[in-house]
């Protein structure tokens, strides 16, 4: 008799545990307000990324097309993957001295691991992260970016 009681108890307890699980899924089924899906490409306009989000490295320019990069090459040394390459040139300043400045700040997005060492190590805060995250392109060559805009110059007062 005891064994039959145990048998039935086992069956009923098992069914009860299953019902508890069904309660969880069932309650979610009947409460569509808890749906977490974000319809991504449709909500693109409303999408706000966090300020610190590491999208890609950019070089902020002001309205006069000036940047802060002196071409010192510290970011190039600090980059673990060799995704930054700086091609510098010598220019003559107004008072006639020769000075080193960047020609091209090449940034290979395809090799970047977003470790933020370049941004953090830059002595003149010339680099920053943008919140752009849609990096997909059809051609790998497009992932090699030149960060300084054409015709840009070093900001006054940055050494």
């Amino acid at each position: 008799m005891r064994s039959i009681y145990n048998y039935l108890k086992e069956v009923l307890m098992g069914v009860w545990s299953l019902l508890k699980g069904m309660k969880v899924t069932g309650s979610y089924f009947f409460s569509p307000s808890k749906i977490v899906t974000q319809k991504y490409p449709n909500n693109r306009n409303k999408l706000v990324m966090f300020d610190r989000f590491k999208g890609e490295v950019i070089m902020p320019h002001n309205e006069k097309n000036e940047h802060k990069c002196t071409g010192c090459g510290i970011c190039e040394i600090n980059c673990p993957n060799g995704s930054i390459e700086i091609i510098s040139k010598t220019i003559a300043t107004e008072d006639g001295k020769k000075k080193r400045a960047i020609d091209k700040h090449i940034y290979r997005l395809s090799m970047c691991t977003f470790c933020a060492l370049c941004v953090k190590s830059c002595p003149s805060n010339a680099l920053a992260f943008s919140q752009e995250f849609e990096h997909a392109v059809f051609n790998r060559a497009l992932l090699i970016k030149v960060l300084n805009k054409p015709g840009s110059q070093l900001m006054k007062g940055v050494e």
Partner: protein, 374 residues
């Protein structure tokens, strides 16, 4: 000397050999298990690894210490922050710098968040391995909240790279404390649902109880650590026996069971999530003021010598062994990854069980393949 290299002799006539992986839904990546079967019963499991071997140890020999951090993220990507912390602690120990309390507390909170999200993902994938697909979505849904907290503070969602030698990359975001508290409040409500859906479920208990037993003796001998070891009664929590960061100032229990089967490995993780929440509760309101990083020299050179640092990741004991010759690059760096050592016990644990149990056992080891391969 006799040639020690031997090739496996699998008798095709007598054993039914199937290849689980490298592309198999339940090997969580590119692990390949060569399974010898007799009917449905597993006779032998031979793990083949190396499909994503990237040579991180070799790469580390040619880069500087701050640059190593971003590579450690990519070993055990679910314990990314704890991996960072291990290298940072080791470098800081070697340089004998005292880091501010604020850093210690923030690192501890981040590490515990890491543990929670890793166990959430474990719960999700373990449920999926056993056929309960809904678990996967619930686990990931809740994990997303932690990832959002990280995204706000660290800038990345999973591969955080938040620690650096001497402190942290940035200070915590002003919203950090509020969001963490919100999450803890939310997750305390959601965790019982996990129990209702899986822990108490009669099918789940039948599937996992008594499966893949590992005795305490074997656990120690195989060196399995983390939840796998603790389920077998092996007290191997580094946070307890060699406290680092702020673990010496918080109260928490080491979750220990003695059965050592799949169910208890699962249970250890469920309990650890609760313990982690307790740790965060103790720390989140008491983050001391101060600097978030110590000013370091631009080029970090470790004094000549050998340094070993172990930390408790979500999967077990991670050891970082640095041999330095005084240069800015490590002479030799070795990561003692918990998954690699835990994998060795898989064969012993799954012998004699069915192929469905093999999936459950390898799921309960919670293997992360990049950590095995490195």
């Amino acid at each position: 000397m006799e040639e020690q290299v031997k090739t496996t002799g699998i008798n095709e006539q007598e054993e039914y050999v199937i290849n689980m992986g490298p592309q198999h839904p339940s090997t969580h990546g590119v692990l390949r298990l060569v399974v010898s079967l007799k009917g449905e019963i597993v006779k032998n499991v031979e793990p083949h690894v190396g499909y994503i071997h990237r040579g991180i140890e070799k790469m580390c020999e040619s880069i500087t210490y701050p640059q190593i951090i971003h590579l450690t993220d990519r070993m055990d990507y679910l314990s990314a922050h704890i991996n960072n912390e291990a290298v940072c602690l080791n470098v800081e120990k070697a340089l004998e710098i005292e880091i501010p309390d604020r850093v210690k507390v923030i690192r501890t909170i981040m590490a515990e968040l890491t543990r929670i999200q890793s166990h959430q993902l474990f719960w999700a994938t373990f449920g999926m391995d056993l056929g309960g697909l809904t678990c996967f979505f619930y686990g990931l849904r809740d994990r997303e909240r932690i990832l959002d907290i990280w995204e706000e503070t660290c800038g990345s969602r999973m591969i955080v790279s938040y620690s650096c030698p001497g402190g942290l990359m940035y200070d915590i975001h002003p919203n950090f404390q509020k969001r963490v508290k919100d999450f803890i409040k939310y997750f305390r409500k959601t965790l019982p649902e996990y129990d209702q859906l899986l822990t108490g479920n009669v099918i789940f208990r039948e599937r996992t109880m008594g499966i893949g037993k590992l005795s305490l003796e074997d656990a120690v001998s195989f060196g399995v650590t983390g939840p796998v070891g603790r389920a077998a009664g092996f007290s191997c929590d580094v946070r307890k026996y060699e406290p680092y960061s702020a673990y010496d100032r918080v109260k928490f229990n080491e979750v220990l069971f003695t059965e050592g089967d799949t169910y208890h490995r699962y249970l250890v993780r469920m309990e650890e999530m609760r313990e982690s929440m307790n740790i965060i509760d103790q720390l989140i309101d008491n983050i001391p003021e101060g600097q978030y990083a110590v000013k370091m020299k631009p080029v970090i050179k470790l004094p000549e010598g050998e340094y070993y640092q172990r930390v408790e990741t979500a999967r077990g004991e991670l050891g970082v062994y640095i041999v330095s010759d005084g240069n800015k690059n490590p002479f030799r760096i070795k990561f003692r990854s918990p998954n690699f050592v835990n994998l060795a016990a898989l064969n012993m644990m799954s012998k004699g069980f069915k192929i469905a149990d093999l999936v459950a056992i390898s799921g309960s080891l919670d293997l992360i393949i990049p950590d095995i391969d490195r």
